[in-house]
Assembly symmetry: D3
Homo-oligomer: 64 residues x 6
């Protein structure tokens, strides 16, 4: 009876999200003994100007 | 002195959000003994292609 | 098909939580048109030494 | 460069969490193109008296 | 090895976010002993019609 | 009118949290133009067996 929140940079396709939701749900079923019926996965698509790591905003990173 | 985060599918009107914020705040006052002055309610409107249940993306659900 | 996260200071009784979960669920049904079946409400009980407002930790507040 | 928050009922063993973190990380690499190095997975273990579904607290559920 | 989520009203410039991410990261290094390399800061820009305080939606507030 | 959630490994002293809350609040005032009165900072202390990075649980890391 859990839910999962994924915070990641925006830009994934619907097909990627479709597969990601399926795979995370399966991971919860396989390893945490969850029933999938009430299991939610929500994806927060964050713009690169709203995320930083190591004190540097995403739009300013070299690995951009 | 709490805050409340609501994750739901986008599409509610401003009037619905207005009433929802009022009702959740009242629930916190009535049942958790909160003072409303510092009580925040934030609503995350999630697109249907960024939410899944039972391993299925919102846009692929029949109840869509 | 939403979920709600409540962040508040620890110390509420089970009966208070029971009523709070019921009332927030009802607010979501009444004002956001949600079906309650898949609607989760989770409460994070935060200790007063892990929450601050106005730059002051909960255990240091006068309203404590 | 994302992170993942898992909210679930407490009671999983360390071994279950170990496998869950590994599997969710793999799902993010496989389907969202993430590099795992900066990918965090955090698990919130929620007591059954702090979670409700369908307006009913976890400790009051029949499927308990 | 932490992450920080900032929920605030939308409308900050990229330069403000740049400085905010830098300052919060520094605070975590100075006061919580974190290494910045794996430290994420994510900003959720919330519209004023999706946030309430004291039971009042942001767009209805006088301090708007 | 924002709030900030800090997810980090447990083990910080109250004095560290006190200074962290003060510094993050100041960062929000200085760089995001927030008024501190309604600004909350909440710290989630996560056990090392409930956090992973790079697919590895905290208790299994060498940098432990």
């Amino acid at each position: 009876m859990p839910f999962v929140i994924v915070e990641m940079w925006q830009g994934r396709t619907v097909e990627q999200k479709r597969n990601l939701v399926k795979a995370i749900t399966q991971a919860m079923v396989d390893h945490a003994g969850c029933k999938p019926d009430h299991l939610h996965v929500v994806i927060h698509d964050t713009p690169k100007d709203s995320w930083g790591r190591d004190g540097v905003l995403g739009i300013d990173m070299k690995e951009n």
